[in-house]
Symmetry: C2
Subunit: 386 residues, 2 copies
């Protein structure tokens, strides 16, 4: 097992690398001697490399920054949605190596596990050290407690996938996973607390406070998607008038404009029409943008975290009506309060799967073995996918 300091070191280099030893001492609160001792086995085992970052002109001995060895391992991430699997292969920093989408054929646990295993094999990346799987629903200890969109209850799903792939599989709620990805490798890096709001097929919500993603069971229930934002808006599928889903989900937006223009349109059509100045589309988009702004303001005011990461495949809405969003935020804020930090993750669908991969990476860090006998990353050395 890694000690607490070793794990902190591994994480710091992973998240902030390349990073000098002296910066690590202040970041980890350790003395230089302790750092030297801790770093040694990581270098010996080939987990870290020492860059000789030539001098930057400053006085004194130049730094030898530490970084994770390039190509150390790969990871896979899979987001299970209602109709599709979104699958990525990533490097150790959740950087994209490959991205694929697959239509989801079966919906039963074994069927989905089969399709995930096939999709991960189909990535064509070997030496995968871990697989992360995320989906909407309440998840704990590798089990899906319930996932309404698949109609699953208490399924030991991580084990099902692991049986097929022979690689460690990590399971997490999709929004928690996305929040972890934003916190470690994404737009939330270095921000102590922020909310995550996703818009797309549905509306999602997650929260980071004091540098930790909130993991409470509430996080899997997805009530953030039904916050009331308007009294005049449409009704969502559960019957809330003007809730976040009703105002922001792509299906609802598309349906409103389709009804107004009397022809079938999808979400991207609506954004295109709004960009061209179509009045019906613009009205709906503006209303949605105002609702998004109110959502952001509510989240900031109630979580006391002055930053929000916006993500999801429908986030193009923000670029189209950023002024409306910011105006709605400002209306619900005090001029004396800090301005809200807004960070937009434009990466769309792949962000979900990168989130899943991040969970696999986090678990892999906890599996690192520094003693000579054991393999460094349990499964990477255990070989390619069987």
């Amino acid at each position: 097992m890694l000690s607490e300091s070793e794990r902190a070191l591994a994480r710091a280099v992973l998240i902030h690398g390349p990073i000098s030893r002296s910066e690590l001492t202040s970041r980890l609160g350790l003395s230089p001697p302790s750092l030297t001792r801790l770093v040694k086995p990581f270098l010996d085992r080939g987990l870290f490399v020492e860059l000789d970052d030539r001098t930057d002109g400053s006085i004194g001995r130049p730094v030898r920054p530490l970084d994770v060895r390039p190509g150390l391992a790969s990871f896979a991430g899979v987001k299970v949605a209602g109709e599709s699997l979104y699958v990525v292969a990533t490097d150790v920093r959740a950087g994209l190596l490959a991205y694929q989408e697959h239509a989801l054929g079966r919906r039963d646990p074994d069927g989905v596990a089969d399709e995930i295993a096939a999709a991960v094999r189909g990535l064509g990346v070997d030496q995968i050290a871990g697989v992360g799987v995320s989906l909407g629903g309440a998840v704990r200890d590798g089990r899906v407690e319930f996932a309404p969109f698949l109609d699953w209850t208490d399924v030991p799903f991580a084990q099902l996938v692991e049986d097929r792939l022979g690689i460690p599989v990590s399971l997490e709620n999709d929004l928690v996973a996305l929040a972890e990805a934003e916190r470690w490798f994404g737009l939330g890096r270095g921000i102590p607390g922020f909310a995550v709001i996703t818009i797309g097929a549905g509306v999602g919500y997650a929260l980071v406070v004091n540098g930790q993603v909130v993991h409470s069971r509430e996080a899997g229930v997805g009530l953030g998607g039904h916050i009331p934002l308007s009294t005049t808006g449409p009704v969502c599928h559960v019957g809330h008038r003007g809730c976040a889903e009703a105002m922001l989900a792509s299906g609802s937006i598309a349906a409103q404009v389709s009804a107004a223009l009397q022809r079938p349109l999808d979400y991207d059509d609506v954004l295109r029409l709004a960009a061209q100045g179509d009045p019906a589309a613009t009205t709906v988009v503006d209303e949605a943008a105002a609702a998004l702004g109110r959502f952001v303001a509510l989240a900031v005011n109630l979580t006391l975290q002055p930053a929000v990461v916006l993500a999801g495949e429908g986030i193009g809405l923000f670029a189209l009506a950023e002024d409306r969003v910011r105006a709605a935020i400002a209306a619900d804020r005090d001029p004396r309060a800090e301005p809200v930090g807004l960070y937009v993750d434009e990466s769309g669908f792949s962000a979900w799967a990168r989130g899943a991969a991040t969970i696999a990476i986090q678990d892999a860090v906890d599996r690192i073995r520094l003693d000579e006998r054991a393999p460094v990353l349990l499964s990477a050395d255990a070989g390619a996918i069987t």
Copy 2:
């Protein structure tokens, strides 16, 4: 200085005492030998006592629970409000020893500091080991960054009071202080995360996540009090229609019923009338209760913490219309989600000052010295108030 384990021990005994060593080992994650070693100096220095809690009939060696020595120290807490000072003396667990209210004469920093010093001396409690002061506004490192209700900006207020009393003074935002009190000694003890909502002259909001009170600068700004809760309600003094202040602040509620009944009423009159079934008062109270329920639901859904502590001098509203509050919460929750834990602190005004005292207690724990030479609690041994 105390080591991390020593501080954890001190806090655990303070918060959960009397508590057996064996329960402490599991709570602190330490082995029995370590606990023995850590406890010794606390007993030697007279901070802890060992109760011989006679056997409870169970098998095995009986436990010798540890507790803080009774009468170890007293603390004072002062909440500075617009018109008044609320002042308490407490024991080490923020238990009430004395409670007083004083009209606030002057409003300038030196004047308020004078009146606080006089009020603390007037408590008639000596051996006060620390004084906590809380007020509405942004506070950091003993300085008031801004306090709109006093029109202060960047005042080193802790120092001003400390100069007058010669006792360590701790300064904190009033809602953060109240949340700390609920977390350590109040209704939130043992709950990992919860929101605090206060109603009274104003509406306040604070948040605890992962066992820690959220201390971000946002917490001092008080935007939780202006969350929109109704589109038809009255307008608050900043101009928000149907915001939390407009719906729930005692002045706003009293004004609505006074206008309806064409005679001047205060908040307690309104609650009395509503209890008697007066239709105008009942209408306003029911609307307020529904708004409170929506507030609770919003807080729970956006903070992902399924518990809320209700406090403040106006919380009598809850008892009067609890059904309405719970119905409004249920309407914004999913039946699958956990039921919301509602905890009502009925202690009214004194809760504010107890919050301030809690801050002083927390700071005093961090000042404990176990080495032979130094006094145990710096100021308690330094003597009574000068």
